[in-house]
Amino acid sequence: MQFNPDKKKFFVIIVLFFLLNAQLSAVGWPQKKGRAWFKLSTQITVADEFYEPGGHKVPITTLGDYTTSLYGEYGITDGLTVFAYIPFFKRITLNRLEGETSGMEFFPGDEVNGFADSDVGLRYRLAGLGATVISGTFLLGLPLGNDNQKNGLYTGDGEMNRMLALEVGHSFHPAAMFATLTLGFNNRVNGYSDEIRYGFELGYSPGARWLLIFRAGGIEPLRNGVDETKGGSGGLFANNQQYLSFGPEINYRITEQVGISLSATSATHAENVVSAVSYGVGVFYSY
C-alpha cells in the first residue's frame, strides 16, 4: 500500500499511533474524537535473579512471565480519551528444582495461566502550548487477577489502585522528534505502599514507516504500606517494588493502519523485582 502523507500531519499521527504505552504511559496527546488505537502485544520475561529488598541480586528459580495483552484508546472528544489495558492471558512458569548431585527434587515446578490485573483510565487534555501538550490522567487498577497462589505466582495484587498523573508531550517539529514526561501518584490500598511513578520518552522517526523510541521510567514506593501484605517481599506483585527501567522500542508501519513493534527493557536501581531483560512484540491497529 502506498501513502504519502504531509510530513507535519504524518508526524502527529505517528505520535498518536506509537506513544501510547500501556503501563507507564508517558504521553501527553489524547486521541482525536472518534479515533482509536489498539495494540495486541506479548511481553516475555525470563529471570533467574531477583532484586531483594536491599537492592542486591540473588539467584532464584527460573521464572517465566508471558503476558499477552490488548491495549486500546478511544477519543470521546478531541480532549478526552478513554483507555484500557487488558492482559487477557498471563502465563507464569516456575522451573522445577533438582539437586545437582543427589538428583533429588527440591521443588516440582509450577505454572499458572489466567487473566491478570487490568487498567482503565481517562486522559484529558489540560493545555496546549504550541508544540507542547499537557494532559492529566486518571487510572484505575482493576484486581481481576489471582492474588492467592501457593507459590507466589500471582497474576494480580488484589487491590484497586488509583493513579493520578500529569503528562507533558513536546514535538520538536520540523525535526521528526518528540519527548514526553510523566509524573504520577499511585494510591494503593490493602497494605501496599503508595508510589511515585515517572516516565520519560524520546522518539525519533528516521523515515515515513519507522519510529524509534527510547523509554525510561520507574517506581519509587513511599514505603507506607504494611510489611505483611500479601505478595510480601519477594512476590511478583511484591509490596515496595522499586526500579528504574529503560530500553529501546522499534516501530514499523506495514500499512497506514497496521504496524508492528519490538521492544527490550532492562532495569536498575531496583528492589523487590526480578532482574532480567523483558522483550516485547506487538501489532497495532488504528482508525
Binding site: E52, G54, V58, Y66, T68, E98, S102, D110, G152, G234
Partner: protein
C-alpha cells in the same frame, strides 16, 4: 502481509505453550570421612609368653579398603604387652594394655589386650550395649559378661562399674546409668583387675535452643528465638518464640537442615510458615530425632531463596 501475520501469530502461539524447565541446585557436598586404620584382630586376651600377630586394614577417604598398609605400633604398657614394629604382640605378664596402631594421615585404632597366666582365669569382660544415646533424666541398664581365655562365660562375677564423667552420667553398682546433663561419657566394668572395653554413652538434653540469623548472602531479615524439644506426649515440637520475625515472601517454608542457610538434600520440610511474626509451633515427624538436624531454615521454597536460619545448640 499474510506471511508476516502468520509469523506473528506463530510467535504469539509460542507463549501459550512455554514449558516449565528444570534448574539444578549446587548442593553442599558432605565432608569426606578421613582415612582411618582398623584393627581386624578380634582376640581380646592371650597367655603369658604367647604371641599374637595383629592385622590392620585402612579405610581410605574414598571408602576403599587397603589391606597392604604397614602402620606403626605401640603398647600402652610394654611390661605387659610387647609389640614389634610389624605388629607382633607378646604377653609378658598378667594384666591389660592397649595396643595402638597409628600412621600419619590416618585416624588410628586401638585394642585392649589382656594377658593371663592360664586358661581358666577371667581374661576379658564385655559390656552391652557398646554405645547408647539417652536423654537427660533417662536411665539405661548396662550388662557385663566375663570370659576366660577360651571364650567361656564365667558366672557369679561381681563387677565394679564406673563412668568417665559424673557430671554427665552416673552409674550405680548394678550398671544402671542415669543421664544428668548433655555430653559424652564412657562406661567401664571391671572385675579381678580386668577392665572391659569402654562403652560410649551420649546424654542429650531434651530441649535445644537457637536464635535466627539472616542469610548474609541477601538482605531478607529473620530474627528471634527457636526451641526444639519433646512435649509430655513424646512429640518433637519446633517452637518459635514470640520475638520471631521474618520478611514475607511467596511460598515461605520451614525446614530442618544440616547446614546453615542451605537446603541440604537430607532436609525435612515442616510446612509453610504459619506467620511471619510471633510464636508458632510445628510438629516434627516422629522419625526425626532431637539431634538429627542442627539448623532451622526459613526458606522461600518456590524461588529457592534462603532467608535465614537458626543453629540449634
Amino acid at each position: 502481509m499474510k506471511q508476516k501475520t502468520l509469523l506473528l501469530t506463530a510467535g504469539l502461539a509460542l507463549i501459550f505453550v512455554s514449558c516449565v524447565g528444570t534448574d539444578f541446585i549446587n548442593e553442599p557436598s558432605p565432608d569426606a570421612d578421613p582415612a582411618k586404620l582398623r584393627i581386624v584382630t578380634t582376640v581380646t586376651a592371650i597367655r603369658v609368653d604367647s604371641m599374637l600377630q595383629f592385622r590392620v586394614e585402612a579405610v581410605e577417604a574414598d571408602g576403599n579398603i587397603n589391606t597392604g598398609i604397614m602402620p606403626l605400633w605401640r603398647s600402652s604398657d610394654s611390661s605387659i604387652v610387647g609389640i614389634t614394629p610389624g605388629g607382633l604382640a607378646t604377653g609378658l605378664q598378667s594384666g591389660q594394655a592397649w595396643v595402638h596402631a597409628y600412621l600419619p594421615g590416618y585416624t588410628g585404632d586401638s585394642l585392649l589386650l589382656g594377658v593371663v597366666e592360664n586358661e581358666t582365669v577371667l581374661a576379658s569382660i564385655m559390656i552391652s550395649p557398646q554405645s547408647a544415646v539417652i536423654r537427660t533424666g533417662d536411665s539405661l541398664q548396662f550388662n557385663a559378661t566375663a570370659f576366660d581365655l577360651s571364650g567361656n562365660v564365667i558366672d557369679s562375677v561381681q563387677f565394679n562399674w564406673s563412668g568417665s564423667n559424673g557430671m554427665i552420667v552416673s552409674i550405680d553398682s548394678s550398671g544402671l546409668a542415669f543421664g544428668k546433663s548433655g555430653g559424652m561419657a564412657e562406661i567401664v566394668a571391671a572385675a579381678q583387675g580386668v577392665f572391659s572395653l569402654p562403652a560410649q554413652i551420649e546424654v542429650r538434653d531434651s530441649v535445644r535452643t537457637g536464635s535466627f540469623e539472616s542469610n548474609p548472602a541477601n538482605r531478607y531479615a529473620v530474627s528471634g528465638s527457636v526451641q526444639l524439644g519433646y512435649d509430655q506426649n513424646g512429640d518433637l515440637l519446633l517452637k518459635f518464640g514470640s520475638d520471631f520475625k521474618t520478611d514475607n515472601g511467596p511460598g515461605v517454608y520451614i525446614y530442618l537442615t544440616t547446614a546453615p542457610h542451605s537446603l541440604t538434600p537430607d532436609h525435612i520440610e515442616l510446612g509453610p510458615i504459619l506467620s511471619v511474626n510471633g510464636a508458632q509451633t510445628y510438629t516434627v515427624p516422629a522419625a526425626v530425632g532431637l539431634f538429627q538436624y542442627d539448623y532451622v531454615l526459613v526458606h522461600c521454597k518456590p524461588f529457592n531463596v534462603p532467608f535465614g536460619s537458626a543453629r540449634l545448640e
